[in-house]
């Protein structure tokens, strides 16, 4: 009975999430194509390259201008038909949607990967490691830092460190990239101890160990900028979160019963606070996947944020769409898995759908 209820619940959530993703992806298609305007750019570009090709071809040189024009027009029309641009945008947008949802990301319009590939998949995969190394690491560091310091402070609230954290919490309204500028100023321009940006020294060291060290050196400032930016508010937030959980009535009741503090902490405070913490971590990790456009711009970090920015500037719709749809899939899958886990763990949900 319970299993059937759970399956029903997950199926329902799955369908809702899928439709959500469908709508979000379609909206992205509309915006990223400027409602069809990018087509005009692509067509103009196509025409220009065909003109160029015909005019350069010695076989056509003997033909008169009008005849050459006719050939150009002919090739152009064939190309348009081959690429499907003869259909109205609305119909094509549905085809884009189908391709995006089936993760058939296709080719970029204008961009190439560093290895020269036009495939969107390669462009994204090439930059993904750089982004994951930096932002997923810093997300994890921040998570554990805030969690443990928050827990510590919730036990020692009112202490001097606690007061310091509370009074400095507003410093977190300043985003990481902004702290990044200061860090570059201090550690590069002034002290000359750390590189201002980039992924690795030029030329890259041959020895893998030295290479890794060089990457690590380049990671220090961007990571530091995010750690500083999130620190006080993060610790403050998790401290308050634990404090709220530790003043619940059932905790008071457990204390009144005379249970040992260790037990109260693990079973009465940490356990019920686990779901929001896990959700926070999961969403944070997924969010870190897409990189950070502005931080990557400040530090010239060659991750997905810079690719996104370049794709937007080149009007390269397939790349923008590819990044968005992968993000949407990851997000939806995470939400669904979290739903499943909570469905198993949380008796209230089981009962509701049982």
């Amino acid at each position: 009975m319970a299993v059937k209820g759970l399956v029903k619940y997950i199926a329902r959530r799955g369908i809702v999430l899928f439709i959500t993703m469908l709508i979000a992806t379609y909206l992205t298609i509309l915006v990223a194509n400027m409602g069809g305007k990018v087509d005009e750019l692509v067509k103009a570009d196509l025409r220009l390259s065909i003109q160029d090709m015909v005019n350069r071809n010695p076989a056509y040189r003997v033909l008169s201008g009008a005849e050459r024009e006719k050939i150009i027009e002919q090739i152009y029309q064939d190309e348009i038909k081959r690429l499907g641009y003869d259909q109205p945008f609305l119909i094509r947008s549905l085809a884009y949607l189908r391709d995006a949802i089936t993760l058939n990301l296709g080719r970029a319009l204008f961009m190439t990967s560093d290895t020269g590939s036009r495939l969107v998949k390669n462009i994204i995969l090439e930059r993904l490691p750089a982004t994951v190394i930096l932002f997923t690491t810093v997300t994890l560091i921040n998570f554990f830092l805030h969690l443990f310091l928050g827990l510590y402070l919730s036990r020692h609230y009112g202490s001097r460190f606690d007061k310091l954290v509370i009074s400095l919490a507003p410093t977190s309204v300043i985003p990481g990239w902004f702290y990044g500028i200061f860090l570059i100023l201090i550690f590069y321009s002034w002290l000359h101890v750390l590189p201002p940006g980039g992924f690795v020294d030029t030329p890259p060291p041959k020895d893998p160990l030295l290479y890794a060290l060089s990457v690590l050196k380049h990671m220090i400032l961007p990571m530091l900028s995010w750690i500083i930016s999130g620190f006080f508010l993060g610790v403050y937030g998790s401290r308050t979160f634990f404090l709220i959980f530790s003043t619940e009535d059932y905790v008071e009741a457990a204390k009144a019963k005379g249970l040992p503090p260790r037990l109260i902490e693990t079973r009465y405070i940490l356990r019920p606070s686990l779901p929001p913490i896990v959700t926070g971590l999961a969403l944070g990790l997924i969010g870190s996947w897409g990189g950070a456009i502005i931080t990557e711009t400040v530090f010239q970090w060659p991750g997905l944020g810079l690719v996104t920015m370049a794709a937007i500037q080149y009007f390269d719709t397939p790349v923008i769409l590819g990044i968005t749809v992968i993000y949407a899939y990851l997000l939806m899958a995470t939400v669904l898995i979290l739903d499943l886990v909570y469905g198993v763990l949380d008796p209230r949900i089981r009962v509701q759908f049982g």
Partner: protein, 475 residues
């Protein structure tokens, strides 16, 4: 009821001021508001745009990337300020004489500029601007002489005007550098350094050692720049302006286009405040209304709003915003509208909705329904006022986020195409390598303004939070 609420507002304000951080926040905000009003009155909107977009022509007398003048307080050296000498204005430092040549329809114009240079560093540039109304082939020929404090006289160039309003960029002229180098290397037979510049040779103490090392000490004293022009046609005018550009300028310094930064620093204030406050206010209130409607009506309205919220969560906020600003080249108010549109279905809705669900069951709402109050009345008069106070601190604390969002867009080069803003200064500084060239003021000034603004709102917001949500105060 009105007076009671006023009393409450007053007491909240008084309490907010009793917190040090709250008082500091309010103080800074008052200062920023005053600055905004001053900016808008002193430099009207169109004037600000004209001054900022007027490019170099408008600011020709300003040095490039000069630090603010107050830098002097931190320096033992006396830093050079800009010296402008113009033969069209009377001054004890400028003299002009015209000598007609009888029977030749020619004249000789001698302009002498005198100035005291007692700074410890070389100037950043030296330009001479010529103004003549000659036409056709009769371009004036100018002999440019330079007299150092030691009375050493150098003829640094003989120059024929190429246009009625011609400029001679003395400091970067190759031919002048060659002339000077040849002159001095005849006098001091040493291997001359590769690092000689026109300014070093004109303003430095030249001897064998300095020529060889390329390091010059400034020769202080009174310099004279004498222009002897041979002008064809008695009616033809001839005037000149010499500018010895310093390395410090004005209260905020200048950028790579010689524009004084204080224009953008001043005008950035009202823009940042207007953008941040409008975005935060509208987003918060619209979110409030949507959440209330969602919680109050329930059913399909509720599910629809919840689904839209979820779609909104999947949409990548910043890439969307960037796409729209890149594709449509929009101004700041359209960006503002897009920001609000993308934010109103944000995360705040869920918590407010939960609150509304609770309040819905309160007896006073039941009473209102019993006497036949409409949904509209209940929502607007009974529910929203109830959930408003806990939202206010969040509203205030959210302002910096929007201010930084605008700055971030401008930093990426996507902000408003016309208005001078803080983010734009940062963008200019970044693209011109301010941090790598040691031009720290260029980054630190807009950064300081951004931080001042965001801290003011953040500290005030946190103080309000403690007052409105007393549970936090105990913790």
């Amino acid at each position: 009821m009105g007076s009671a609420r006023e009393g409450k507002v007053k007491s909240i304000v008084r309490e907010a001021l009793s917190y040090k951080s709250g008082a500091a926040g309010v103080g800074i905000l008052i200062f920023l508001a005053a600055l905004s009003i001053y900016a808008v009155i002193a430099i009207p909107y169109d004037e600000a745009i004209r001054m900022w977009r007027g490019q170099e022509a408008m600011w020709l007398d300003n040095p490039r990337t000069a630090a603010p003048e107050w830098i002097q307080f931190f320096s033992v050296k006396k830093l050079p300020k800009t010296i402008v000498l113009d033969s069209r204005t009377r001054s004890p430092y400028v003299s002009k004489a015209e000598v007609e040549m009888p029977g030749l329809n020619m004249k000789k114009v001698i302009i002498e500029f005198r100035f005291v240079y007692d700074f410890d560093e070389l100037p950043s540039e030296l330009n001479i601007f010529f103004f003549s109304n000659f036409s056709g082939a009769g371009a004036p020929l100018v002999t440019i002489n330079w007299v150092k404090p030691s009375a050493e006289t150098i003829t640094m160039a003989k120059y024929g005007l190429r246009a009625p309003d011609d400029r001679l960029y003395v400091s970067i002229s190759d031919s002048i550098l060659r002339t000077l180098t040849n002159l001095y290397s005849e006098k001091y037979p040493v291997n001359t350094s590769e690092r000689l510049t026109v300014l070093k040779l004109l303003f430095g103490k030249v001897d064998g050692a300095s020529l060889e090392s390329g390091e010059f000490e400034v020769e202080k004293g009174t310099y004279r720049l004498i222009l002897e022009a041979l002008v064809f046609g008695v009616q033809t005018s001839f005037d000149a302006k010499a500018v010895v550009y310093g390395t410090i300028h004005g209260p905020a310094g200048t950028d790579h286009l010689r524009r004084p930064l204080e224009i953008a620093l001043l005008w950035g204030t009202p823009i940042a405040l207007a953008f941040g406050l409008t975005a935060s206010l509208l987003t918060t209130f619209i979110q409030l209304v949507i959440a209330t409607v969602s919680g109050w009506y329930g059913g399909w309205v509720d599910s629809l709003i919840q689904r839209i919220t979820e779609v909104n969560m999947v949409l990548p906020f910043l890439p969307f915003l960037i796409m729209i600003s890149v594709f449509y080249k929009v101004d700041i108010w359209v960006i503002l509208a897009v920001v609000i549109a993308l934010s109103i279905f944000g995360g705040g809705i869920k918590s407010t909705r939960a609150l509304v669900m609770q309040i819905k069951e309160y007896p006073y709402i039941e009473a209102a329904r019993a006497y036949g109050a409409s949904d509209f009345r209940v929502i607007l008069l009974y529910i929203i006022p109830k959930i408003l106070p806990p939202v206010i601190p969040g509203l205030v604390s959210a302002v910096p986020g929007y201010v930084f969002l605008e700055a971030a867009l401008a930093f990426l080069g996507l902000g408003d195409p016309f208005l001078p803003t803080w983010g734009k200064i940062l963008n200019d500084a970044n693209t011109n390598g301010a941090l790598y060239r040691g031009l720290y003021y260029w980054v630190l000034e807009p950064a300081a303004m951004l931080m001042l603004t965001s801290f003011a709102f953040a500290f005030l917001g946190f103080a309000l939070d403690k007052i409105v949500n007393p549970r936090l105060r105990e913790m």
